[in-house]
Symmetry: C2
Subunit: 423 residues, 2 copies
């Protein structure tokens, strides 16, 4: 008998009927002989509705109270799910993050789990009951204040509990069948990936693919928890996120795992920056102090005659105003440099562990975009990823062109996934 | 500087605009130099909506999980209220029942407060901040499980906190101006009572007047906490519930404080019960074991020839099925007695501490009902109350007739309240 942690997202528990359906699935897992711990998100759009209520009162709610507000959503769904399971004749007990022993730091709104002490969950399993745990929330060790883990934090709750309990797998249920080579809404030929490493999943998730909470994958990587991403609306096998090799697995890493895209960034360009040591440092210190998360940075070669250069960087759209204000406050230090803002960019990222040993990937990417008549504005790379910034209106076409150029379209996929075609 | 506990009911915090209005009132109280602790109920119909959600899943939800579900409502309202107060420039911190130190027994759904340890509330007041506490909820001492105090339990939370903190007054805000001599929707001439004893308030509340949670009044009585019942929609003085004598108060108790009515009871009659010792005991043991709260009981004089008698009792409508089942299970012990059920009764209660020294009240009540052509089916009395069971369709007319017969109508009220007219 193994222990399985199952996490159900908001779309899987959107109403009473959905909750009953999820309860039946949990009971089936239990009936198959497993111990089951369930982590549940708030119903449907509850969290957004609560945020909207707070927004009707003030633009700047205090984070501690906002966390208390937002955790009400999981409190509702976890109780209803426990009630639904009990009505099917299986014992179930619901626990808040605090009761489940999810201890976090004090960073309200984006807290990190620092310990999990799931003694009540273990006692529940010993009683042959299902434990339902509220996702997305924890409690501070010193003050017993409620914290939230940030958007998508329920994934992290599930993985952290799976690690603490020694679960055999953490199943993450949503309304999609698994991790795809690209967003099927943009690329109809996109294909479900049967198995993927945590490293590639991290790159995909960090670059716009809405698969899993980034920190959940980091947690799974560190504690070696296998994640099974699957749909609560079907019984299909989904995508296994793991660094263990499959018995019949590839001898070589796949060249390309998938194409991610991101519409959530803007670009700030500072034109005519004095090209002297320390200028870039001042700029990015100021922007960082304003709480902005810089993604890509490009600095042009200095124009020899003028002694001036241009610096561009990308950041989340919602942080652009803060960055612009921070730059304006620098004032004289920028010596008349002009700050431009562009909110119509898109980012495309190609991810694959096989890139490490296949140097031609960049050239093929750039060639495919050129053939499609699409201009590249910025480039950045990691060991297993290449990202480019494009015009926003070109993004969908670029994703389709790249997906096809790397042989990821459904009909031709097998050879590529197993490292065959290279370059 | 005194400490004031203010409790706001669901209708006072029904939406964002109402929450902002309540926040302004709290800030005004704080600005007037008081320490303020606020107890808040769930917004509007939230609790009913959550109950309805549970009802869509099963008819018989487990009480522990139901309590977790229902407490989500106060979690939302307390966080929003703290956010609203903060946005007005006054520090506020929200606390769950657990964080506020409200310790209860383990009777989920109807828990009793057994201790209040409000150290975090006191620390908040020391920081010159407003403490917002979720009403209606507590936590068990041993297992840290969330409990609820039953419908209207937020009143009890407020009074218990006021007692534990030594508050000068506990203000209970709702959408009515105070305690009235009768329900103004039935008796337009009903009058607000400026001051009333806890004993009379208990009798009114126990007999259908929807003023205050019964246990809140018991708590206030025991710990001598003055309660001020008032409207959050006006700044009028409301009704002061206290056993302290006002400086310019009456020398004599008021003859009649008010007329309460109750439509929530049904009547069971057992016809042809063997009139032998122990039969009534068997009947009421069985009914009590089924969890029914019996209110009034009448047993007819035995009909000499048959050796049989009739027993009638009243109980809450929703407990009638359980009582009938318990009586059916007695079977042979009732020797063929017939069980009748009547769900079209109404109860009228006349309450006044002055009854103790004015013996003619019953006669005047019965006379007034006779003059109005209304039949009486059952009668019960306490030291300061007379209750009668009537046909449900006669109830409103009876309330108006009695209200008028005892001189409670607005224009003629002064003399009566101060004990003048007697009998």
């Amino acid at each position: 008998m193994s222990l399985i942690v199952q996490k159900f997202g908001g779309s899987s528990v959107a109403d009473a009927e959905s909750i009953r359906r999820v309860a039946r699935r949990i009971v089936e897992t239990k009936a198959a002989g497993h111990d089951v711990v369930v982590v549940v998100s708030a119903m449907g759009d509850t969290t957004d509705e609560l945020l909207d209520l707070a927004g009707q009162i003030t633009d700047d709610p205090p984070q501690r109270e906002l966390d208390i507000l937002l955790t009400a959503g999981e409190r509702i769904s976890m109780a209803l799910l426990a009630i639904a399971i009990t009505s099917l004749g299986v014992q179930a007990r619901a626990f808040t993050g605090q009761q489940a022993g999810v201890i976090t730091d004090t960073a309200h709104g984006n807290a990190r789990i620092i310990d999990v002490t799931p003694s009540r969950i273990q006692a529940t399993l010993s009683d042959d009951a299902v434990a339902i745990v509220a996702g997305f929330q924890g409690v501070t060790a010193q003050t017993n204040d409620v914290t939230t883990l940030g958007r998508g934090g329920s994934d992290t709750t599930a993985v952290a509990l799976a690690a603490a309990l020694g679960a055999s797998v953490c199943e993450i249920y949503s309304d999609v069948d698994g991790v795809f080579t690209a967003d099927p809404r943009i690329v109809p030929a996109a294909r479900k990936i049967p198995r993927i490493s945590t490293e590639e999943t991290l790159e995909l998730a960090a670059n716009g693919a809405k698969i899993l909470h980034l920190r959940a994958v980091e947690y799974a990587r560190r504690y070696r928890v296998p994640i099974h991403v699957r749909s609560s609306f079907s019984s299909h096998q989904g995508t296994l996120v793991t660094d263990e090799l499959a018995e019949d697995g590839p001898m070589e890493d796949p060249l390309i795992s998938g194409v991610a895209h991101d519409r959530s960034q803007g670009k700030i360009t500072i034109v005519g920056v004095p090209d002297v040591p320390g200028t870039a440092a001042r700029i990015f210190e100021a922007v960082a102090a304003a709480g902005c998360n810089i993604d890509m940075i490009v600095q042009n070669v200095s124009a020899a005659k003028t002694g001036l250069t241009d610096i561009s960087f990308t950041l989340p759209l919602e942080q652009a105003n803060a960055a612009k204000a921070a730059l304006a406050a620098l004032g004289g230090e920028l010596q008349g440099a002009e700050v431009l803002y562009d909110d119509t960019i898109g980012k495309l990222s190609l991810v694959g562990a096989g890139m490490r040993s296949h140097p031609g990937v960049s050239a093929r990417l750039f060639g495919a975009l050129r053939d499609a008549g699409i201009n590249i504005e910025m480039i950045s790379t990691s060991e297993i990823r290449i990202s480019v910034i494009l015009r926003l209106e070109d993004l969908d076409e670029a994703v389709r062109a790249i997906h096809s150029a790397f042989g990821l379209d459904a009909a031709e996929v097998e050879a590529v996934v197993y490292g065959g075609t290279g370059r």
